[in-house]
């Protein structure tokens, strides 16, 4: 089967500081794939390159076979690839509903927006309860749900989730993992960055291990879990 997402030799830099030194990875349809690695290993930068927030300095990014390297962020989103940025950034001054509505910024039909919003409220009843409340008053876990819900408002086929369990209680983190499994069940492919290796490997079927802007290992979750030495070597954990 053709991969949904394929990166070949992607390089990127912040000014003169090179952050990615040739990343290769591929994601098959319906998969959940995790990117692991310490801080500064290049996971978030990889996400930014994929979603068009950053222009790669070299290499190829293909989404459904079409090159999207250097496309603008809205073009990538239109193609069906949504990015839920790290630290669960929501717009705190706006209400929950406004946050969600902006997630469908590129959708012009009102009925379609309402339909998607209903679907998201169905999945996250907490958000429905609080839809008139400003997003800044939500708890951390609720904000994360809102951020995911907002990304889903664009009805993506591939969702990039950057550290969705960061700073959440173990119980909320479990809840986030359950959401990811559910998304997979609905046929949405998920690419996940996660600090918590065990959380990540419990939902992902495969993982790439990043170190200083390179992919240093790629294996199935099972194989990684079975060889703690390997994980320890790369992640120091």
């Amino acid at each position: 089967m053709a991969p949904v997402l394929e990166l070949k030799g992607v390089e990127a830099a912040y000014g003169k500081a090179k952050a990615l030194h040739g990343i290769d990875l591929r994601v098959e349809p319906g998969e959940v794939v995790a990117l692991l690695g310490a801080n500064g290993a290049g996971k978030t930068t990889t996400f930014r390159v994929i979603s068009g927030l950053m222009r790669p300095s070299a290499g190829e990014v293909r989404f459904d076979g079409a090159s999207i390297a250097g496309c603008s962020a809205d073009a990538v989103l239109r193609a069906g690839l949504a990015h839920c940025p790290e630290e669960r950034h929501v717009w705190p001054e706006m209400t929950v509903e406004e946050n969600l509505r902006l997630g469908a910024y590129l959708v012009s039909q009102r009925i379609e927006i309402e339909r998607r919003m209903e679907r998201i409220y169905l999945r996250f009843p907490r958000l429905k309860e609080r839809r008139r409340q400003s997003a800044g008053t939500l708890s951390g876990g609720e904000q994360q749900m809102l951020a995911i819900g907002r990304a889903l408002m664009s009805a993506p086929r591939l969702l990039l989730l950057d550290e969705p369990s960061l700073g959440l209680s173990p119980r909320m983190a479990k809840e986030v993992l359950a959401v990811i499994r559910e998304l997979q069940g609905q046929g949405i492919t998920v690419l996940l960055v996660e600090q918590n290796v065990h959380n990540a490997l419990s939902v992902a079927s495969r993982a790439y291990v990043f170190e200083t802007g390179r992919v240093v290992a790629e294996n199935t979750s099972q194989a990684l879990l079975d060889s703690p030495d390997l994980l320890k070597a790369y992640l120091g954990g």
């Binding site: 603008s72 962020a73 239109r78 001054e93 209400t95 406004e98 902006l102 910024y105 400003s134 800044g136």
Partner: protein, 316 residues
């Protein structure tokens, strides 16, 4: 938002009735200055308060509007209404060009380059004697036809109502803007650029569209000013208009709808009543700005805008 809207409607009603009570030429003159300033402040606030960039050369649009009206009236003999429309169009077109260049920059770079645009226009107006009559300016711009032959007081009242109508138009446009997808998108870019891009918002486009709207408003204010004062010189591009815009918006409350209405009322009145202090007046304004930035960064209307949040939290 509802509270702000109701306050604005109430203020509009009071403003409509004011001339019936204040049968005085001088007070009506102050009223005209207030409504003129509201147009400018509302225009400036769209950029400062919603897009979150600081166009220090915003007088460029005021000046272009004023000169368009002045030239339209004196050289081509066009009526007021035509000049008003032309001033909006010219300013908007210039806003498009200026925005297309400057909105690629952010922060201090945007501030300085927009200032440069206004300075260049001022120098052009000062030196292109053939078109603008240089430092002598363009004098004798006629009053709108419907005010001809009225007494001085009635003329002032006429200008006041005209300006009030135009200012109300600007504030209404701002209200629609804030409650549109465009306004929400602008705020989302201001709050977090990366997240805004992640939902498919193109920050440059949002900024440019807002800039064009703000420019059209300022151009309209310029045309109104030209016909009221009946004289336009290069100082319309100057820094003193810029300073009053900044003070009015910061004091009133940037990023609110009521702020750019409260600000002008206070600043224009202060300017009049502090006249005795001459130069000291500007120093006083400087102190006011410092105090606002330090102690009331949201301006006078800030608490109104925050009320919504508390109301929302209380409901939960």
């Amino acid at each position: 938002m509802v509270l702000q809207r109701n306050l604005l409607l109430a203020a509009f009603a009071v403003a409509l009735l004011a001339p019936l009570v204040l049968r005085d030429e001088y007070l009506m003159h102050i009223g005209v200055l207030v409504v003129f300033s509201i147009m400018l402040a509302t225009s400036f606030n769209l950029m400062v308060g919603y897009v979150g960039e600081f166009p220090l050369g915003h007088t460029a649009f005021l000046g272009i509007g004023a000169y368009t009206a002045a030239l339209g009236a004196s050289t081509f003999g066009l009526p007021f209404a035509a000049n008003l429309v032309l001033a909006c169009l010219f300013s908007a077109a210039f806003g498009f060009v200026m925005g297309a260049v400057t909105l690629r920059l952010r922060g201090p770079f945007f501030v300085i380059i927009t200032l440069c645009f206004a300075e260049v226009l001022r120098i052009v107006a000062n030196n292109w004697v053939g078109l603008t009559n240089g430092p002598m300016g363009i004098a004798g711009i006629p009053k709108p036809a419907f005010l001809a032959g009225l007494s001085m007081l009635d003329q002032k009242v006429g200008f006041y109502y005209l300006g009030l109508g135009l200012a109300a138009l600007c504030v209404y446009a701002a209200y629609r803007y804030v409650n549109s997808n465009l306004g929400r998108a602008a705020v989302s870019v201001r709050e977090n650029r990366f997240v805004a891009q992640s939902v498919g918002i193109w920050p440059f486009y949002i900024g440019l569209l807002t800039f064009v709207i703000a420019a059209a408003m300022a151009g309209m204010a310029g045309a109104f000013y030209a016909h009221y004062v009946s004289f336009v010189g290069p100082e319309v591009f100057g820094f003193s208009f810029m300073i009053s815009m900044i003070i009015m918006v910061l004091l009133g409350g940037k990023g609110t709808l009521v702020g750019p209405v409260i600000g002008p009322v206070i600043v224009v009145l202060l300017e009049e009543y502090l006249r005795d202090f001459k130069e000291l007046r500007l120093s006083l304004f400087g102190l006011i700005v410092i105090a606002v930035v330090l102690f009331m960064p949201q301006g006078l209307a800030g608490p109104l805008a925050r009320r919504r949040e508390r109301a929302g939290a209380a409901k939960a």
